[in-house]
Symmetry: C2
């Protein structure tokens, strides 16, 4: 039994002239091949199911992540339009609709409020300033919101923090 | 050979006391099982590769399709802001950035121009009006652009067409 049959096999199922023991060995070998092939198939099927979920998530992350600067800039335009004008109201509707649509795909804004403890999992400190009324490593001001997609951080909030010793690891 | 071994098989590879002919048959049967299992696996692998591409496309279509109303409304807000103002320029930047980002994922705007022949693959006629200077079934006005994602129509253009006989099928 030196030949290894492959898938496009021209190898006959049983070799001519084989004796009882050789045939028994070949029965066992072919059976093992079958079992291994079905086990490989099962494992592949499980991996594919995980990858399928992962792929949908990654595609959403890539599209929605790429749109966050547009959302930021829309909010900036909104801040610069005079409240009460028709244009401001129109922009507000656009911004709400945009955020709501992204929210339906799992986007969640996380706002860092002044006084929040700095959290390296959510915040990126862009500068530190001394503060008389804030403890060390507190958020002084948020420059840009954090966003999560589902339970994954899409981008951290950009914050200014109060000066002090670095937070304990 | 009445038993059909399955994957969790307790069936022995070769039945005790089997004679030469029975063993040959069992060698052949196990070999066939192996071939069928690998063929199934191959087919599944090919199907998965197609589905993977399809899934990425469908996810992009669903996210980007859902954002088209935001893009429309942003363009509407832009049309309502006074040209030359800082706000108008700001909105223009937001709209360009938004459209460019979606364009990077394959979104293409298709504009129906007045005089274009009505095309059921690209246009949705929302009304028909009589026109002295347009042939039958020509686009009079576009109310909303069509968008394609890659080579697939994401939504048709909404158009007003000139009155006349229905186009030949």
């Amino acid at each position: 039994m030196t030949e290894t049959p492959n898938n496009s096999a021209v190898v006959p199922p049983a070799e001519p002239g084989a004796d009882l023991e050789q045939l028994k060995a070949q029965v066992a070998e072919n059976w093992d091949k079958f079992l291994r092939a079905t086990a490989d198939f099962d494992n592949y099927r499980k991996r594919v199911a995980r990858e399928r979920e992962e792929l949908g998530r990654m595609t959403r992350e890539s599209v929605i992540g790429a749109l966050l600067p547009s959302l930021d800039n829309l909010e900036r335009a909104l801040d610069h339009s005079a409240a009460g004008t028709a244009l401001h109201e129109g922009l507000l509707q656009v911004q709400k609709q945009f955020a709501r649509t992204l929210g339906e795909f799992g986007l969640v804004e996380i706002i860092a409020k002044p006084g929040d403890q700095f959290d390296a999992n959510l915040h990126e400190a862009v500068s530190q300033i001394e503060s008389a009324d804030q403890p060390d490593n507190a958020v002084i001001e948020q420059l840009q919101s954090a966003y999560k997609l589902g339970d994954r951080l899409l981008r951290p909030a950009r914050v200014v923090v109060s000066k002090g010793a670095p937070p304990a690891a």
